[in-house]
Amino acid sequence: MSPSFFSLVDRFGLALNAVAMVLLVLLIGVTLWEVAARYVFDAPTIWGFDLAWMLNGGLFLLALAETTRRGGHVRVDVVSSRLPAGWQRMGETLFMALLFAPGVGVLAWTASRRFVQAVATGEVDPVSSWAPVMWPFHLAVAVGLWALLLQMAVSTARRWRAGPGEAAS
């Protein structure tokens, strides 16, 4: 893994975060449109509800990698801050290799298969009267999960490169 690969992963996460930002703006817009349509014009849309949860699910998953890069997930450091830095780093690496990577990997793989399936069969939402195509949602889930996995691998590798002195920071 060369450093340029690391920054490529960072930039990929940033780009996904930018997409998520657009989705958030769209989500606010869709919600307001629905409110206006329902309460002002008394003509609720058939797509407001579906579009809202799809956008929300998409923006959540696409923002995961960048949130991970910035260390935005809650940690409890009461005990770990008292452990030797080497131990903590080793523990986290083992967690990453044995649990996190296989777990998220399986999920990302399942999501990718669902996406391919959705494209191949032209799957639409079975419970919605609007019946939107499902592949964009599945695509966001799959891409978001792969990006999270990559970002977490890069973050773990960086802790080893930083050397024992900086590992705790």
């Binding site: 975060n17 998520a20 930002m21 958030l24 703006v25 989500l27 606010i28 919600t31 307001l32 629905e34 409110v35 329902r38 309460y39 509800f49 809202a52 949860w53 799809m54 929300n56 699910g57 998409g58 923006l59 959540f60 998953l61 923002a63 995961l64 960048e66 949130t67 910035r70 935005g72 997930h73 809650v74 940690r75 409890v76 450091d77 009461v78 005990v79 770990s80 801050s81 452990l83 903590q88 523990g91 986290e92 967690f95 649990l99 996190f100 296989p102 777990g103 998220v104 399986v106 999920l107 793989w109 399942t110 999501a111 669902r114 949602f137 889930v141 999960l145 977490m152």
Partner: protein, 441 residues
């Protein structure tokens, strides 16, 4: 076999959490490991269902929108307006600046459900003047932490939204239910500050006579107050009111609130593209953090409950020999103790689904129990030594305010929260009256 699995899940989770692995990842990893043991190859499909159900949950859309509303409100300049107005109105009283801080926090919390950033904002604004006028340092620390913690309680609070989804009660009902207890808590905070500063004037001297709090005429003050209060209160009333009356769903109300805060920022001339992008970015990060815990927590508890966990918890409760009140006290105690270590999202996601059948069996009103739980979460948020609110305060407090000052300073406010809890226990009407009223519509 399955009973052992459940028994091993909690220690494994805590082992990972204490190792310093992000809580959301630890939940996910534990769920994966035990799911793999039980379901083998099917674990991928099994856990993937939860991604779909969480990502496709319409109610959770409200979380992102409420976070954006809070992030935008924080940047809208409303806080400065409110603080100045409260300062000139309350500044002549003993402890006036501390009173103004709590009053501002109460109103501000009604517009935002996020706490950390709000506390930082309030601390930066209110600590320097209180230090300058020689306020007691413990009082300063306690006021900022207590005021900052109000966001967990006063609607639209993210705690309430997440709790309601897990306890399967209406978000609108729980939001309506916490409103009066929240007001009681604010009044207790104000009463404590006023009482303390009346008895010991040196702890919070009134503003000097040449301050604008004395020079301004009543009319000028009224205008300032109106200018600060009307737009914010109007927005807050519209958002909370439309939800409580069942006119709008929480998601719709949150969307309107999001637009409202953007307009407020424009009104106070704070709206720039940079501010907007910054608010969006903050929202994405906080939302991703919270929803990933919701996702990991959902996976963790379903595997725990599906593999002997519910039986284990029932046996445990039976062993303790508690029922009804005892079960509720046990639940609240675990919530409080857990809050000293874990973040509230994980706690709610783990404890509420596990206790839900037991809580239902007590026959108590679910909304009432929800209010008690929200107060306890807020209290553990404020209780030293592991209080997030103190952690945030340390980031903005000057060196003169020691960690000991902070821990001692919050204790009277923790006592006020205890009194609020007691009030809701003794007078359940405080929690149940507003929801029953709004349900009648």
């Amino acid at each position: 076999m399955t009973g052992t699995v459940a028994a091993l899940m909690l220690p494994s989770l805590f082992g990972l959490v204490f190792l310093g692995v992000p809580v959301a990842f630890a939940l996910l990893g534990t769920a994966f490991a035990f799911g793999l043991m039980l379901s083998g190859d099917l674990v991928g499909l099994q856990l993937f269902r939860f991604i779909q159900s969480v990502a496709a949950n319409y109610v959770l859309v409200a979380v992102a929108l409420f976070i954006f509303m809070g992030a935008m409100l924080e940047r809208s300049g409303v806080a400065e307006q409110l603080f100045r107005a409260m300062r000139v109105c309350l500044g002549r009283l003993p402890g006036g600046l501390a009173l103004a801080t709590i009053a501002m926090c109460g109103i501000f919390a009604a517009g935002t459900g996020i706490v950390g950033a709000v506390e930082v904002l309030i601390g930066l604004m209110a600590i320097p003047p209180m230090m300058a006028y020689g306020y007691n340092r413990q009082l300063i620390a306690g006021t900022i932490c207590a005021g900052g913690s109000l966001g967990t309680m006063i609607p639209p609070s993210i705690v309430v939204v997440i709790y309601a989804t897990q306890a399967q009660i209406g978000i609108g009902d729980l939001l309506a239910a916490v409103l009066l207890p929240g007001a009681v808590m604010i009044l207790l905070f104000l009463a404590y500050i006023l009482g303390r500063c009346l008895l010991r004037p040196a702890d919070g001297p009134p503003l000097p006579p040449d301050d604008e709090a004395f020079r301004m005429s009543g009319l000028e003050k009224a205008l300032l107050l109106l200018r600060a209060l009307v737009p914010t209160l109007g927005l807050v009333t519209a958002v909370i009111g439309s939800m409580m009356l069942g006119i709008a769903s929480p998601t719709e109300a949150a969307g309107v609130g999001a637009l409202g805060t953007v307009l407020l920022a424009a009104l106070y001339r704070r709206l720039t593209p940079a501010v907007l992008v910054d608010a969006l970015r903050t929202t994405l990060a906080l939302n991703a953090m919270i929803i990933l815990i919701v996702l990991g927590g959902t996976m963790f508890t379903s595997i725990f409950l599906g593999n002997g966990g519910s039986r284990m918890v029932q046996d445990f409760v039976a062993l303790l020999g508690v029922e009804r009140e005892g079960v509720l006290v046990l639940f609240l105690a675990l919530l409080f103790l857990g809050g000293l270590v874990l973040d509230w999202v994980s706690l709610v996601l783990i404890l509420v689904p596990i206790f839900l059948p037991l809580l239902r069996a007590t026959g108590f009103d679910a909304v009432w129990m929800g209010v008690l739980a929200v107060i306890v979460i807020q209290t553990s948020y404020l209780t030293p030594p592991m209080a997030p609110s103190i952690f945030y305060l340390r980031g903005v407090a000057p060196a003169e305010i020691s960690y000991g000052d902070m821990c001692r300073g919050v204790l009277p406010f923790v006592a006020c929260q205890g009194l609020t809890l007691l009030a809701v226990v003794l007078f359940p009407m405080l929690a149940t009256w507003l929801p029953s009223l709004t349900r009648a519509y």
